[in-house]
Amino acid sequence: MHVFNWHVFFEELPGGGEEYWQLIVSGVGWTLAVSACAWVIALFVGSLIGTIRTTNSPWLVRLGNAWVELFRNIPLLVQMFLWYFVIPEFIPPLKSWIVHADPTDAQFVCAVLCLGLFTSARIAEQVRAGIQSLPRGQRLAGMALGLTQPQVYRYVLLPMGFRIVIPPLTSETMNLIKNSSVALTIGLAELTFRARELGEYTFNFFEAFTAATVIYLVISMTANRLMAVIERRTAVPGYIAGGAK
């Protein structure tokens, strides 16, 4: 029967100097860094794409739809490979940067771009649904007041639309954190990568995977609480009920 060895985290790596828990901590750092950077891209691009899909310009709507379909219908793993192996071949400056850069930097940039744009398509879908769920009268009232289309969005539709979108954004944030583990396929040493590495070095797979599981649970619970606070802070009194408990 397997004997648990929870002390494994405080043993030294074969090379010496570092202990295994430091490996896990550096993995957590990369997971958080990739998720945070990708989240910023996803929120920015996703809001933009989601918004243009609700405008009355057919070409902008088509562009937005094409964007969402493109990123939703290719597996994340394949997109990761495309960003790391294929796209740089078509952009010579990017290629020459990747060849000369630290491999970790290249993996990080590719993972962030991949996860950011992948998530942007999902956020765009939520933002579009949020804006379209607003009563038509809001847009019409804005226009009757003489606002231009950008002003209608800036002052009337987006402030309400974003508040409606916060709960689905919370689950997209958690998905993003989970999806960041796919970056291990291009060699980025994030949390899951490090957990497997620890298992392979020491054969304490059970302990390593348990640690990773607990850390993922803690990270997603924290993200969940954080979003709940934002939801409560931004709630419009009398319009959207309560906020998350």
Binding site: N73, L77, V78, K178, V182, T185, A195, F209, A212
Partner: protein
């Protein structure tokens, strides 16, 4: 740069085998996940508190950790579990392909559970009461009254989840199973043709998933009219 898509044509038989495995994995995991997911949903909605607790704990755990980590967990645990079950002397290796099938059934069960739970809860309470009033047992009420309606209401969501599953199965790459992506990447690395192979794989997935989700959308409209 010189692109040579001949490599795709030359390796089509091998790629097709990988693709067959992907479809097989999706189908088995989809059906198995639906079956166990429905059981889990009944468990979560059960009036037995311990059963509801165990079912929700399982579902919430599965849904909060990355699929890649779930795959690693099962890949590591499965041989040990089989060893304990069969009393063998060493951990029983069943291979990446079979491990992947069990993993995806167990993983998808958690996601299908939430869909079926929503489906069951969308059925008006009166249906349950009238089933009991007619003298049906719990099993009969579920099998003959509630679940058929819940399935029907949830068909578009179930199909959408299956399309997501179809994409997610590509992650068996991390345990070196030879699915469609696995086959393509093995050829790509052997022949040094990463660009052509990955573009081809992306195009195939895109065309299939786009077509399927388009069909689901049309089905959704049709069902919505009938209801």
């Amino acid at each position: 740069m010189h692109l040579d898509f001949g490599v795709v044509a030359r390796s089509l038989p091998y790629l097709w085998k990988g693709f067959e495995y992907t479809v097989q994995l999706t189908a088995i995991a989809g059906l198995g996940g639906l079956f166990f997911g429905t059981l889990l949903a009944l468990g979560r909605l059960s009036s037995l508190r311990w059963l509801a607790f165990v079912a929700s704990a399982y579902v919430n755990l599965m849904r909060s950790i990355p699929l890649v980590l779930v795959i690693f967990w099962f890949f590591f645990l499965m041989p040990q579990v089989f060893q304990a079950m069969t009393g063998a002397e060493r951990p029983v290796q069943i291979g990446a392909e079979r491990t992947a099938i069990i993993t995806f059934i167990m993983f998808e069960a958690a996601y299908f559970c939430e869909i079926m739970r929503a489906g069951i809860q969308s059925i008006p309470k009166g249906q349950v009461h009238s089933a009991y009033a007619l003298g049906l047992t719990y099993g009969q009420a579920m099998r003959k009254v509630i679940l058929p309606q819940a399935f029907r209401n949830m068909i578009p969501v179930l199909l959408t989840q299956t399309i997501i599953l179809f994409q997610d199965t590509s992650l068996v790459y991390v345990i070196s199973a030879t699915d469609f992506v696995g086959a393509a990447s093995k050829i790509a690395q052997r022949d040094g043709r990463l660009i052509e192979m990955y573009l081809f794989v992306a195009a195939v997935y895109f065309v299939l998933c786009y077509t399927l989700s388009f069909m689901v959308k049309r089905l959704q409209k049709k069902i919505a009219v009938i209801r």
